[in-house]
């Protein structure tokens, strides 16, 4: 064993997650793919099951006692989820995932359904960044194409960081109507200075949207303090179930928007030709919502609050520092993104000379270690980095230094398989 440079760090919570009781060919599960999806603690699994077992009814339409329990569970979950990130329940909308949340804004804010008051007209610009996930690129490509607007990008420098000066210069051009960007890059790990960016965007009279998918599960996030017009994140990366995402918005922006999806539950009244909209947040929740999933996500944020998000961040920062140190022991390995753990979320994307990232992930699996390989739904960024793909190891609350050790051992063994 090489000397441990960073202090060992552990929240000692693996036992809370039943999946770590599984064995794969006699081996423990070593899961370093929380950037893709998190594992679930028993309290989340139990809350979901208990809701379906004992409290299941549709919401917002029943008068019987069981339906009232379902209402209370769903609305209670919304209150806890909103409070977890300092938001108001009234402007906290449940969606299917982050992708749907961003599409909601691209359609409902971007297009509007009031032709005389479009938010984007020919000659306008939408500004995004080179480090975005496809979910925060393609909806804006579609909007710009449809509206005759221009899609421009903030550049990522060689350290994997954005430049506030370039943001200022872009805003000074006077045509930017909306700026959308990730809070934490899913490839580089870069923590983006979201509050500073949102303040500048607001001062320039533009609208901001932050993709918080890789931030909310891993660090304290206060959407009020960040000051974004829209902030989106997803349940399944935050120890919750799949099928539920969250969109927080500024009340004035959300009030002024037309609905996204239309149908049941989002209306106030419907006659043969027209309809009027329900109040916030229900205006943006058409059809039966993800009720059990909301209950599960409520349990997940309670669990995270119990751990304390400051502690979670401190743990993941220390573990990431340890991971960066240990990965440096692997010959030919190059990590992309900010060199300091301080500047990045809990992940490291890397390449190994002479082994394609896909094979790196396969070789890691030989050592029982789950990591991801590919373009991470960020092909434009891959082009900027000059690589087709990377391997990515990402941590969660349950990871420990021994998981990182297993990864490094697997990578060293993998180099031998390849005769390196």
């Amino acid at each position: 064993m090489p000397p441990v440079v960073s202090p060992p760090t552990s929240l000692d919570v693996k036992a809370d997650f039943p999946i770590f009781g599984r064995r794969f060919g006699g081996r423990e599960l070593i899961y370093l793919d929380s950037g893709a999806t998190s594992q679930k603690p028993a309290v989340v699994i139990d809350a979901l099951a208990e809701h379906l077992r004992a409290h299941n009814a549709n919401v917002h339409r029943g008068v019987y006692a069981l339906a009232q329990e379902a209402d209370a569970a769903y609305d209670g979950a919304r209150r806890r989820v909103a409070a977890f990130v300092g938001a108001s329940p009234r402007t906290t909308v449940f969606t299917k995932n982050v992708t749907e949340a961003i599409n909601l804004v691209a359609y409902a804010w971007g297009r509007g359904s009031v032709p005389e008051r479009p938010n984007i007209v020919p000659g306008d610009a939408v500004l995004i960044t080179q480090l975005e996930h496809h979910a925060n690129i393609v909806p804006w490509q579609m909007l710009c194409r449809e509206r005759g607007a221009e899609l421009r990008y903030l550049e990522v420098d060689e350290r994997g960081e954005l430049s506030l000066e370039q943001l200022d210069a872009e805003l000074a051009r006077g045509d930017v109507r909306l700026v959308a960007f990730a809070h934490v890059s899913n490839v580089l790990g870069t923590i983006v200075p979201v509050a500073e960016m949102c303040a500048r965007i607001r001062a320039a009279g533009a609208v901001s949207l932050v993709d918080g998918a890789q931030a909310v599960p891993h660090m304290p996030v206060d959407v009020g303090a960040i000051g974004a017009d829209f902030y989106a994140w997803t349940g399944h990366k935050a120890l919750g179930p799949t099928g539920i995402g969250v969109l927080h918005g500024r009340a004035e922006a959300m009030e002024a928007m037309e609905p996204f999806l239309t149908g049941g539950d989002m209306i106030s009244s419907v006659d043969f030709q027209t309809a009027t909209w329900n109040e916030l947040p229900y205006k943006f929740e058409a059809g039966t919502p993800p009720i059990a999933e909301a209950v599960g996500l409520g349990a997940a944020v309670d669990y995270l609050s119990g751990l304390g998000m400051e502690r979670v961040r401190a743990h993941e920062r220390a573990l990431t520092a340890y991971m960066l140190e240990r990965l440096a022991e692997v010959p030919g390995l190059r990590v992309v993104g900010p060199p300091e753990a301080e500047r990045r979320g809990g992940l490291a994307s890397f390449t190994i000379e002479g082994i394609h990232p896909h094979d790196v992930a396969e070789l890691a699996d030989r050592g029982g270690v789950c990591i991801r390989a590919g373009h991470h739904c960020a092909q434009p960024l891959m082009r900027c980095l000059g690589v087709g793909a990377t391997a990515r190891a990402s941590v969660g609350v349950y990871n420990e230094p021994s998981d990182v050790d297993a990864l490094v051992e697997a990578l060293l063994a993998g180099r031998e398989v390849f005769g390196l």
Binding site: I355, H356, P357, H358, D359, E362, A373, G374, H375, Q379, M382, G388, A389, V417, F418, G419
Partner: protein
Amino acid sequence: MDDLYRDYILEHYKRPHNFGELDPHDLEALEHNPLCGDELGVHIRVAGGRIEDLRFHGHGCAISQASASIASQELIGMELEEVGELDADWMIELLGIPVSATRRKCALLNLKVVRGAVTGDRAWPE
């Protein structure tokens, strides 16, 4: 010995046969593996209804590069009509290693590109 990364697979990966450009060429195609962003293209020269010569270009994992390299040796000299009938089993058998469901597209990318160039059929081989 490793089941997947056998010596001959790694040998083909490190020193792939028939890689590069072929100019002039009669047929060409370029395909991506959506799973990993890999890219593989092919240039084909045709004479007398057969593949006279062929070169692959692009980047990819050991399985996709070795598959292309191994397949290239069989494809050169093959009748175009025969190329159109090649299926996934042909490639997997030729490769000679157990290919998991997740790596199947890596192994089949080269056949997809070649069939695309020869027949215009861009479907994944089955």
